[in-house]
Symmetry: D2
Amino acid sequence: MSKLRVAIVGASGYSGSVAARLVAAHDRLALAFATSDKLAGASVAVHLGTVLDDRQIFLPNAAALDRADACDAVILATAADISMRLVPEFGVRGKQVIDLSGAFRLDAEAYPRWYGFEHAAPDWLKRTHYGLPELFGSPPAGSIVANPGCYPTAALLALAPLLRDKLIEAKGIVIDAKSGVTGAGRQSGDAYSFAEVADDLHAYRLLTHQHTPEITRGLARTGEPRPSSDVQVTFTAHLLPLKRGLLATCYARPRSGADAKRVADCLAEAYAHTAFVRAVPPEQVMLKRVVGTNMAHVGATANPDVVVAIGALDNLLKGASGQAIQSLNAMNGWPETTGLDALQRISP
Amino acid sequence: MSKLRVAIVGASGYSGSVAARLVAAHDRLALAFATSDKLAGASVAVHLGTVLDDRQIFLPNAAALDRADACDAVILATAADISMRLVPEFGVRGKQVIDLSGAFRLDAEAYPRWYGFEHAAPDWLKRTHYGLPELFGSPPAGSIVANPGCYPTAALLALAPLLRDKLIEAKGIVIDAKSGVTGAGRQSGDAYSFAEVADDLHAYRLLTHQHTPEITRGLARTGEPRPSSDVQVTFTAHLLPLKRGLLATCYARPRSGADAKRVADCLAEAYAHTAFVRAVPPEQVMLKRVVGTNMAHVGATANPDVVVAIGALDNLLKGASGQAIQSLNAMNGWPETTGLDALQRISP
Amino acid sequence: MSKLRVAIVGASGYSGSVAARLVAAHDRLALAFATSDKLAGASVAVHLGTVLDDRQIFLPNAAALDRADACDAVILATAADISMRLVPEFGVRGKQVIDLSGAFRLDAEAYPRWYGFEHAAPDWLKRTHYGLPELFGSPPAGSIVANPGCYPTAALLALAPLLRDKLIEAKGIVIDAKSGVTGAGRQSGDAYSFAEVADDLHAYRLLTHQHTPEITRGLARTGEPRPSSDVQVTFTAHLLPLKRGLLATCYARPRSGADAKRVADCLAEAYAHTAFVRAVPPEQVMLKRVVGTNMAHVGATANPDVVVAIGALDNLLKGASGQAIQSLNAMNGWPETTGLDALQRISP
Amino acid sequence: MSKLRVAIVGASGYSGSVAARLVAAHDRLALAFATSDKLAGASVAVHLGTVLDDRQIFLPNAAALDRADACDAVILATAADISMRLVPEFGVRGKQVIDLSGAFRLDAEAYPRWYGFEHAAPDWLKRTHYGLPELFGSPPAGSIVANPGCYPTAALLALAPLLRDKLIEAKGIVIDAKSGVTGAGRQSGDAYSFAEVADDLHAYRLLTHQHTPEITRGLARTGEPRPSSDVQVTFTAHLLPLKRGLLATCYARPRSGADAKRVADCLAEAYAHTAFVRAVPPEQVMLKRVVGTNMAHVGATANPDVVVAIGALDNLLKGASGQAIQSLNAMNGWPETTGLDALQRISP
């Protein structure tokens, strides 16, 4: 059985290096090459820390397109403005493309406000599939995959079934989310130094975080589609003093009939037949039960004033590179769990 | 100058031991005695870790009342059901009393639902002062002080001025709070073991936390008093993997005229002349800037859909024993910062 | 291809649950059953947090022997006194046995002093193989495997090649080791609570730790065997405020010819052809590069006064259950890395 | 009572900012000015996080000498090469000078090897007092104080009484030390980012750390002075994933008569009459009992092969700025604990 050859562009960042490890350990995938300007020339095996042949080395990013013939698929772990240019290049060459950035997750008109640039490839936006399989199914043939953001994955998994089943209002939703530092990507500088982050907690990008329109759009396309303007979400991100893991606590106004049992049942039914999402009591939605795995846990409860729904996942796996592998499995007709079921929970 | 003799009942718990350290280091206070069944007979100085005479030892809790003559004031760091009985005993003996539990913070009728017992001293409830000085002033002569809970202190400091100035609606308030493990008091058992708490985050006592009615009541008594039923708050507590520090992110519906500038100005003005509350931009409300000190930081912003107000403090100081010393200073006519201005921020 | 059926006895502890996860994810192994008095009746899949059939439940420990027919191999994650009794029982039934406790790692006469009991099965001690494959090879047919302790694995991997190649003296060795809290097994009680362990560090069982004679014996059997009395080791364990990971910093007196280059080369050559031990510069022996994987990293340097050798590993994988799977692979003639090469480093 | 006016040069680093907080809270000291190129123009009170007048601002470092008239004493929290030049400048102006760097801790000939520069003020080296009061007494009139390094303070407090009382050999001493990240000073860059430091441990500057000759020299001057060449120390530093706290585990060869009781008694007697050093059983030497305070805890035990002595302290207080205040108190004839007895242990 020959393996699908996968290239990773931007493999020294957190999600890129996790993607490379997942590819290296996947029975059906082979690492075609990995690029990183920072690590160009260094051993991939040493950097990944895995049991691999030591001879493969990181290429510079600029070599990625030149080497496109050497791969069947590519995972882009690059900044949004770079992905915006690379996705069409790999797309026209007929490669399977999964983009981990936000460059293909919104409608074109949203980019100037939320990402600070005009979208350079609006026609490619129409060919992208938003790769959250439990809510939006498998990618159609020939599509490229916009891999969802970490916060949107957690929030949408917790809220979308409740909105679809008309248990919550689409307006007045509050999402209070907390993420470990790898969610921000590899950063240097004082703000991410140990002595600044440890034992701290604070909110960031208040009311301006670019995942807000992504969540709104995802909710608008849930159940009977509606215009994004019919959905109103307040989203807050906090920086947690831990490496991996993201928890989103969501508040919504109940619609008639919503009570504690019905909202819990709604989530249980929505995910009963999925491999990677498990509905649990909301106080048991815990980082420690999902970090290190591709699982998301969700739970909900309600009283007459409010529905509370909570989602948790590992921001580098189900919130990024693990979900990318799910999509790659789906695009190639393999079982969804291939290469993901040996991942081990970190908490003992 | 003779010192006020202060007894600490329940001095082996987290807030009790911090109270004892504050008394020991305070120029106007002397530690009359400290009780703890767990540490009875052990050296107070060794346990507190301070520069003190080694001869003082912990007494058993049962000795507290017998020794009442030896103290002028008492800080009760006991469970609510025990405080409910001890407060009147020390009160009738004419002692200055500060109770760190929830036993005297609510109206009598709220206790069965939120604390699981009928209140045994409802007449004493009327003589208590809710000791949050920046919002409710100094304790009247002869009153006993119900020291506020850690979550209510942070939430009320962030929200009360906004409600008083009619910038937010009193209904539909969401408070998403996160606290380090000492907020739960000294606990043993698996759930609080290092391997269970480290690198984790989860919500607890969802929709049933006993600080909910305390916050509601505090807001109802802000500005023009209104019935508690006119205020509606959803409160969620999360357990953070750190020892000390509490951050409350609060969401409210804006009233007309509320915008980012007005809500920020409202907090700045409210606390301009206080020693222990500082208004800062909301993304700069950070645990690391307050932990180890008696300071609370608050900040707010808004858009047309929502007002976000954030408060942070050290749950053992401004959220418990530090605030108790503020009240004790006020009761004795000393400057509010006495014994609290040498506290040092932990984050370097 | 039928799978080898493996039972785990004591599967709710840290090393037991990691062993169960490794078995569940291993292509050639099936989880026959898992026992735990604490979790008896609970879902194994839910507890393990993996992608598994939810129907399998934990059995009580007492059921293990009765169900022996249902397994081909057993991993004992039980206390030493229990393993001492169970190993012979499974051994006489012809099962492959791997014992994670210290019950079969020393000579019989050492047990009263270091473990506090007379050994009840001294004849079985002779049939055990000390399962540290990189130093002591594969288990002979019919042997049972005494899986090494976490500290001895790290210390022996760092020191044994240096002693064998006559670069260090056998006396006057100092091993200063530091381990995350899971090294102590699942503990409750104040001493292991988050608030006691976080931000702390201290030594424990000073000069009395039971891993001391295990290290001494391992060194004595390295190279040309010598009596244990010719080896003298001082061993100190410290409790680190993190969950997983162990680092041993070892100091020895140099023999003639030992210098920085020779000691580094010695380790590089010793492990050049191993899958799970990698020699690196000693300042690059870091917990973050091994935790989550079955790798051990070792490094050494020297000056005329001292040889310093450092070893690091994940105490639950290469220091416990991962190494057990290595032995199980060897006993069954499978590639050594089977079921271990998909493990992912935790640090991103 | 007029206060002594103290300037802090380099007040944005970790030890400088702690020094500034201690001065601000000290009854006999006033903060004359604080300099920092990084924070020039910013509010000192906001940066320190204390209850202070908001009007004082940071000056640029270059202004320090110009403003010398405004201070009676200066604490230099500058790099060694800068302190080497500033100490004489403030010295000739008759100021009380305490230097936190290593610029005046060694003999002149040691600087090229350990600090990489020729010493520019060797005559001033003779006028310095090594400011470790419990071992070397109070500074003579007119001396300047070289404040000891954090590692040397812990190691010398643990070892010096044992060497002085002839319980250990002066050669073959091993010091295995572990420190939180603030010990390295304020650093940016990947190596000190949260994601790199959290959950990690590794050794650094192996066999080349500049605190090695400082410890050797301190031991040589203990008891009957001997040449530094008669003392031989191996020193290893490890980076701990926590902010504050340092623990040094020291190993030495016993001399005749050394046993567990005698070494414990030796430390107990040595520090019986000190305010800031407490002898405890060696397994109770714990970071959590000293961090946040100016206390050092030490403990020792022995068997026929080895003496183990352990010391712990807060690297920013007893290991840096707290000890500086001790010296300043001594130079001015105030009680040693002035301004240091209100510090509160961080661990609850």
